[in-house]
Subunit: 209 residues, 2 copies
DNA sequence: TCGGCTATGTTAGAAACTCTAACTTTGACA
DNA sequence: TGTCAAAGTTAGAGTTTCTAACATAGCCGA
């Protein structure tokens, strides 16, 4: 699991009245708690205890609890996107490996940070409240569609490319949740993630429309 | 959305001290609230208001809040399973239509009862607390594997059948969540569920291993 | 250097929620 | 008919989110 271990100089017991870095530290505390207890068992109070401030302090930085979660969500989406871009760059343009790599990052992120993954893709009605969050999803997905179209050798993203991209998304999305919800044991000897991703990528990307 | 409208004779304002049907009525109230507000915004107090009893009353029937949700979960799984069996029976044995029908029920259930669907497949660590709930999942999934094997014309469920069944599950699972989480708009003119399910069923079930 | 403004802390407390304890009612059954 | 247990009730402890009113201090202009 993803952990940031570097602690700011004021991480424990500050001596000044003002904290100096509270907003960032609250977001980080929130992220850790979300991973530890799950998004629905996260409490503001606990984050405050963690950061060593009163329970009223966060409300100088966030309108309400959900805004803290949204901050973590946003930050998580950015991180996930960066991983996707980095993964793709390691393979030649238009190759199937790029597609597979995208799937690996998707599932990998879910397993590394299930809490944040849930925030990103779970019940997301309140994403609308966050500035820019609603735009990130389609933009990131557009990137995937572009890769799919590139593999197919099309000029642009046509209907067929969209459909195939959607099948792939659906697949890795479902797989991610089944894994983090422990509906399927990844330790099962017959479970081979890379093989499975390759299988699916082939079945979806190759042959007739 | 699924609604039970029949009201028991004591549904509103009972005159007797004892309720008579509280357990069942609380489960039903819980189910409705879970659909209306989502599983994580459900509160025992509200269910009590709904049923017209004090907030302490449920604790005669359930150990804690989660046990009420588990009851709804269990009941939902049973209902989902029945729908699956019923759907399959409408098509000839070993036909691809049976496979597609299973997918339709899966996604259909998610759309009809997103709240309960989330309970069944969401963060399910506490399913262990419920007697029998942990066994239901594998049993229902075994049924699907059987159908897949039947289509393939195998004697039993071999490794290949298992892998294909898993791909299908993963797909409909992901699709369900993307739909109920509004990551993809089902009203999009290019979105055709039946077509998509058939596409995927073909790609997964037909041709080389 | 000083005075004040504003950002960012604090404490106190309201309202909601989960769950327990102790009490009450009532149906069932010996 | 009398008693017990099941299943309600009220009271309240402890936690939570969030607001209001107050406190501190960093910064900035005179």
């Amino acid at each position: 699991m993803y952990r940031i271990m570097e602690k700011t100089e004021k991480s424990k017991k500050r001596e000044s009245y003002h904290h100096g870095d509270l907003r960032a530290q609250l977001i980080e505390a929130t992220r850790v708690l979300v991973e530890d207890k799950g998004p629905d068992h996260f409490s503001v109070s606990e984050a405050c205890r963690e950061a060593g401030v009163s329970t009223a302090a966060p409300y100088r930085h966030f309108k309400h609890k959900d805004e803290m979660l949204l901050a973590v969500t946003k930050e998580g989406m950015d991180r996930k996107y960066q991983r996707m871009v980095a993964a793709v760059e390691q393979h030649p343009e238009g190759s199937l490996e790029r597609i597979v790599a995208l799937g690996q990052v998707y599932v990998g992120f879910a397993r590394d940070e299930p809490g944040v993954f849930r925030l990103i893709f779970g019940n997301t009605r309140d994403h609308k409240m966050h500035e820019g969050l609603m735009e990130d999803g389609p933009r990131h997905y557009g990137f995937v569609e572009g890769e799919v179209a590139a593999f197919l050798g099309r000029g642009g993203v046509d209907e067929d490319a969209k459909e195939r991209a959607f099948m792939l998304w659906t697949f890795v999305h479902g797989l991610s949740f089944l894994l983090i919800d422990e509906k399927v044991s990844s330790t099962d000897h017959s479970f081979d993630l890379d093989r499975l991703l390759l299988q699916v990528a082939r079945r979806v990307m190759i042959d007739s429309a």
